[in-house]
């Protein structure tokens, strides 16, 4: 019984991906300031995400959508969600994302970054 319990704990904690897909890291980094307009916003999640149900958009300080409206899950990396950006003026921007993990969990969130 003790062995079974230990195995269950190990399985639970050693799983390769998370039930709810949370961002692992991003470009630009969450809350950071970049020197120049980045060519894209990229978010790497800690598990595979479903392309059909995943969205990503970028808004400026006036809440206008400024990205190229081409969000996609990278064909070569199913943990990467990205959207292209035109050259952007200095200022504050906010990224809004919503994803569905492969096992059906939906998560959403937003974060800001700044262009110097």
């Amino acid at each position: 019984m003790r062995t079974l319990y230990a195995a269950t704990v190990l399985l639970a904690t050693a799983a390769p991906a998370w039930g709810h897909a949370f961002p692992d890291h991003s470009e630009p980094r969450v809350g950071h300031t970049v020197d120049a307009s980045p060519p894209a916003v990229r978010i790497w999640f800690d598990g595979a995400i479903e392309p059909v149900f995943s969205t990503l958009r970028v808004e400026d300080a006036d809440k206008r959508q400024v990205d190229r409206k081409d969000p996609r899950v990278s064909p070569s990396d199913d943990t990467l969600l990205e959207v292209g950006l035109p050259p952007l003026a200095p200022g504050r921007y906010r990224v809004f994302w919503s994803v569905v993990a492969r096992d059906g969990h939906r998560t959403e969130g937003s974060f800001g970054f700044r262009i110097k």
Binding site: A17, F22, R29, V30, H32, D103, E108, G109, F111
Partner: protein, 328 residues
């Protein structure tokens, strides 16, 4: 008489675990993840299993009994009956090792809880729920002080994430607060003890089972929230899934000789959450000498059943398979 001593000692347990019982209810609202807290119950309903929750503490001696080492091993199974309605069953096995005295052990009364989430706001990471808990009298062992009568506790819960604070105080956005308030209502007002003394006289002793407010808070700082939504400070795994937490678990009798005298504990600790489970550990620090003077420890392994096997554990009688707990 010895049983009475243990009843008194278990009173301290009641104080240390105050607004508690095995806690449950991880959940998501908006972009906020709330873990299941160890000591107080939180506002979510979910399909999950706390097994085990282990409390270890040294109780101080009193007029009614010697000091004792107490270890509680408890478990709780929670099941959603609908997206907003949940049912929980909990039990605790208690070992008491008095000094001096012989050790005793046994199950405490079974606890059954029903909870309903009646209001939520994803943008404000806020929700409220109400419930009722039933301590089923007579299902536990008398030798560890399990009561022979039922206690019913109507409860209110809330959860609030502070992600909607202005950017000027962005470092406070990962903070969240949950709270629980309940009123223990024993179904037997008095315990009556009848004894015959040496002179053959009959003594009748009546002891009040007082109503008591059970209340508590959990203040938590979610490092995953900080990293993902506020500022990437470069925390590596597993630290980026840590939630430092302080729980406040209090009890205030509202009648009887101890009316208005609050007892309880402050429990600082940390929770780590993963895909299928979370692990938590906290110190259990009495808030006053009335509660005790020794620091205990509580630890918990908590499984997210809705993530482990959603088709099995998220089935409900009227809404079918709910699937994993989703952002509200």
């Amino acid at each position: 008489m010895r049983t009475r001593h243990y009843v008194a000692l278990l009173g301290v347990l009641g104080l240390t675990m105050a607004a508690a019982g095995p806690a449950s209810g991880h959940g998501l609202i908006g972009q906020r993840f709330f873990p299941a807290t160890l000591t107080i119950d939180d506002p979510f309903v979910a399909d999950e299993l706390s097994l085990p929750t282990v409390l270890h503490i040294k109780n101080r001696g009193s007029e009614e009994g010697p000091p004792s080492l107490q270890t509680d091993v408890s478990g709780e199974l929670s099941k959603r009956l609908s997206p907003n309605l949940g049912l929980s069953l909990g039990g605790t096995y208690t070992l008491l090792d008095p000094d001096p005295g012989d050790s005793v052990s046994g199950f405490d009364n079974m606890e059954v809880s029903l909870k309903y989430v009646f209001w939520k706001s994803a943008p404000h990471e806020t929700l409220f729920s109400a419930g009722v808990s039933w301590d089923v009298g007579g299902t536990g062992s008398k030798k560890i002080g399990a009561e022979s009568f039922d206690t019913v506790t109507p409860q209110l819960f809330f959860g609030k994430g502070f992600g909607d604070l202005p950017d000027a105080v962005e470092w406070l956005k990962p903070l969240a607060l949950t709270g629980a308030f309940g009123l223990d209502i024993p179904t037997r007002v008095h315990n009556q003890t009848i004894s015959v003394n040496d002179d053959g006289d009959v003594d009748v002793e009546r002891e009040l089972n007082p109503k008591a407010m059970q209340w508590g808070f959990a203040l938590q700082y979610n490092l995953q929230y900080l990293q993902s939504f506020v500022r990437d400070v470069g925390l590596p795994a597993p630290i980026n899934r840590f939630i430092p937490i302080v729980e406040f678990a209090m009890e205030t009798p509202v009648e009887g000789r101890d009316a208005g005298r609050t007892t309880g504990t402050v429990n600082p600790g940390v929770i780590w959450f993963g895909r299928y489970c979370q692990l938590g550990i906290e110190a259990v620090i009495p808030v006053n000498t009335r509660t005790g003077k020794n620091v205990g420890v509580i630890g918990q392994v908590h499984f997210y059943l809705d993530d482990i096997a959603p088709k099995i554990f998220t089935w409900t009688p009227f809404h079918g398979v709910l699937g994993p707990t989703q952002a509200q």
